[in-house]
Symmetry: C2
Subunit: 327 residues, 2 copies
């Protein structure tokens, strides 16, 4: 019998890209790690990491200048004559992704009809690309999660969702109360407000008034491009976390077809489900952060306490804030 995973084991399953300082090292020795850095116009900071096989497979429009020597770079040029750099970037990303859709380069890229993700650290508002393609470019993606809890006479209870069985990713697994990818044009808080209504029938006004921003967690996933090659992608992720205390009369109910059911569980039930790996992997990380902030996981009861806390907040090797400040 295998020993049950520790909380740190659960985090390692999410934050599974090797702990190497990829931002400062070319890693020529290891072809698998010799990523191309994605550079935006007039900005020397790295915004993404692209695997060599992805660079080879994509059909790049002329706005992208590719340098194969170390340090390898994919430099996006500004072909707007200084008029609207963000729009120029967005056209270029649209074009390279549209080429891949047309050419059926990747099995998961079948349509341009989906929401966009923002390039978090871009100096131009709002540089964006198709959500389903963002993993290929290794840009940081933004998600938002809200954990709803209820104070009862028998202690704290937590609202846990079960994902629908027909979902492509993590079907039937447990989830946070409300979660979603943050669209390019919205803030994490706006994402939570509309997802609360769409996924859990929690009134938008109540969420707007009572949801509390409580921090963010960050990790780097070793994703797959689901193509023939086994080498991994580098996917930096930021999850913005919110807590909300619900009165007993507000009961989350599945509204769209993404959630099958909600359970109101006590802490022991949630722990048990985590340890038996019933949670979607990154939702386990959100729940561990919740446990840390609420004094459920402490230095006194958890030998890995500090490693858990730092691992929940990995420094990402991409720009995550604009370098152009207002005065």
């Amino acid at each position: 019998m295998t020993a049950p995973p520790s909380y740190l084991d659960l985090l390692k399953a999410v934050d599974n890209f090797p702990y190497i300082d990829i931002s400062s090292t070319p890693y020529v020795e290891d072809a698998n790690l010799a990523f191309y850095r994605l550079l935006l116009p007039n900005d020397s900071r790295t915004h993404g990491y692209i695997r060599p096989s992805i660079v080879r497979k994509l059909t790049w429009p002329p706005a992208f200048q590719i340098k194969h020597n170390i340090p390898r770079t994919v430099q996006l040029l500004d072909d707007s004559n200084g008029k609207d750099t963000a729009a120029a970037c967005n056209r270029a990303f649209y074009e390279v992704i549209e080429n891949a859709v047309k050419d059926k380069t990747f099995p998961f890229l079948t349509s341009m009809q989906w929401e966009n993700y923002r390039l978090m650290g871009a100096n131009y508002e709002t540089v964006q690309m198709l959500r389903s393609a963002s993993r290929l470019f290794g840009i940081a993606s933004r998600g938002a999660h809200m954990t709803a809890y209820v104070r009862t006479n028998n202690g704290m209870k937590i609202w846990v969702g079960r994902r629908s069985a027909h979902l492509i990713t993590y079907p039937g697994m447990l989830d946070t109360t409300v979660a979603g990818g943050v669209r390019a044009e919205e803030s994490p808080f706006e994402c939570i407000v509309h997802e609360s209504a769409e996924e859990a029938s929690i009134p938008a006004d109540y969420v707007r008034e009572n949801a509390k921003a409580v921090g963010a967690i960050s990790y780097i996933a070793k994703g797959s491009a689901a193509d023939a090659e086994s080498s991994s992608l580098l996917i930096p992720v930021v999850l913005y976390n919110y807590d909300i205390e619900l009165p007993e009369h507000i009961v989350p109910k599945p509204e769209d077809d993404e959630v099958e059911e909600f359970y109101l569980w006590d802490v022991e039930q949630v722990k048990k489900a985590m340890i038996s790996r019933q949670f979607k992997t990154n939702c386990a990380a959100v729940m561990i952060d919740f446990f840390v902030r609420h004094g459920i996981i402490t230095d006194e009861n958890e030998v890995d306490y500090l490693d858990i806390v730092t691992r929940l907040h990995r420094t990402l090797p991409v720009a995550t804030a604009s370098s152009q400040r207002a005065d």
Copy 2:
């Protein structure tokens, strides 16, 4: 006129050791960074980083084996014949530090009469050394901070302490409600319980019942050895954070001579004092973490949000948990 510091600027003043991956790189090119790794018996993990000039100045007992080639190491040997490895380590640390006290090697090391700090990641319970000497060995030090707040009709108010004018470190500056170094033999929570009584006259029973563990922050300070040489030390720090909500009738009062006065301030007053650098530097970091957890600093109002959150939780280049697990 200089612009006021951002929250991220305040964090950079605390977490001021360069962001280099010192654990995986010898840094031979830069003599200043060619630290010696401190190794404990039967354990290949690094427990501290010692500056070359410190290695030269100290008089090492035979239990320490020093290797000057890259990677440079100070290896502590077990001379207990397997009887009590922790005691053997502690004798060796006592001896090398006592030598420095006798020889007056460092101006701040004048006495062996002070509390001890634990080596966090040691596999033997409890390896420890004199608190005032710990910075020389670059071991992780543990502190605990508690922020007391009051919910009033006019919003949240926070209890802020002012350090006594006669303290050697940061005299007269602002501080968290309760804080202290965690002694080798105690847990962070125990530290907060007794410091609450000693520093702020908050009843131990009330703290034990109501203080809530809410996470930890970590950083690496570029300390000085206060000797003739200008090159810096590497000081990894962990601060365990606690929140406590106080009813209006429990009022913190200075009890020992470390705190001069307590103020009950609203969030705007605390912000103003932070931005004008009136807080002890690491207390500003604790307060920023409090602001993040309480939804005062959010992604919507702070451009550096993610950088702040990750910077508050730096991965430390030393072992911070025992590698020997119970089954």
